[in-house]
Subunit: 201 residues, 2 copies
Amino acid sequence: MHELIFKYLSSCSTSSLTEKDMELMRNTFVSKKMRKRQYFLQEGDVCKHFAFIVKGAMRQYTVDDKGIEHFVQLSIENYWAGDRESFATFTPSIYNIDAWEDTELLLITRTDFLNLLDSIPGVAEMVRKLDEKDFIFAQRRLKALISLTAEKRFAEFESSNPEFNRRFPQHIIASYLGVTNVTLSRVRKQAMKKYSLPVIS
Amino acid sequence: MHELIFKYLSSCSTSSLTEKDMELMRNTFVSKKMRKRQYFLQEGDVCKHFAFIVKGAMRQYTVDDKGIEHFVQLSIENYWAGDRESFATFTPSIYNIDAWEDTELLLITRTDFLNLLDSIPGVAEMVRKLDEKDFIFAQRRLKALISLTAEKRFAEFESSNPEFNRRFPQHIIASYLGVTNVTLSRVRKQAMKKYSLPVIS
DNA sequence: CGCGGGTTTGATGATGCTCAAGCCCGGTGG
DNA sequence: CCACCGGGCTTGAGCATCATCAAACCCGCG
């Protein structure tokens, strides 16, 4: 169960984990299974745990006054799920997070997370790199949202996130890209016509 | 010159700086003055330095095929400027960064930055917290872009970033919010009418 | 005074949204 | 086996929002 997170850690840090480190991590990360559609976090609750995804897929979203869901974050195995804002500040979350597939998680609390940062150098390094990557990713997405049309945003998404594109249905991708499912449908049709390359299903 | 960054550091870290730390920082952060409109980074160049803003204001943007500027990041004193993607990966930047006011910076190179992270605990802590804050901020902005209308985005921006709103002209704010200056002008007019509260200038 | 940068306003058009209907397909139960 | 159902995708018609283009205005500054 914990093997994948060890592998993940060693893949993104230079210093390797000692047996003691692994023991510590086995004791702090609690495993949890979630069924498809099961809530991990609901709007108004404080995000007490952050989750490493061992297997499956999760979605993070808000619901607006019209009841429409807007997906701010999608994640699959070897990524993380949780609301960082609520997790860091202990304030009620404005997001919902649920499983989109049957999912296996490894949970950690805020205090355990902070302890781990101090006690395992590899973890600190991983977190720093992860934060860097996440910020760069968010910045790219922001740039796309303020400067590109729906069509170009989708093209970019498709080419740089093929896995997400495969794992999540179109209406979720659409929302993630800031358009409706109807618009994305038309956009894809246009794109297909233009390059006469049917999208691989 | 370096005093402000010491103050900044101590404001966001628990461990305090030793005299030796400060000496080290004085030697690694190089100060630089920039005139309004002077480039700090141009598209295609690698971002060799990250900059702490002691005084002034900077803007980071892309220029699309039609020659329109899209502002992805605005920053003022006590914030940072630089393209993290290029800085971290040594790849050519897709952004331009320039000074919007006469500005004083403290520059640091990537290797010096990584060294500092290892040698001063307060710096590591600051970076971690900064990354957390930046990510949360980016996430909020993403959420606003995919789920709110131009009017609501502006209202949110105005209330949570009054300083930016004061320091940057409207057409820059507009671009930052993902709309044209023309649209923002109309949106503000509507908002004024609605609340019969003239925006403080 | 005239210039440049920024903002406002109007007219027009494109892009993307809403609503509604129909289709496709996999799963369930008679 | 087939009928039905639900979720997801597509398509069309009409509409709202926002972009574009162009003109005018405002104001600080040389």
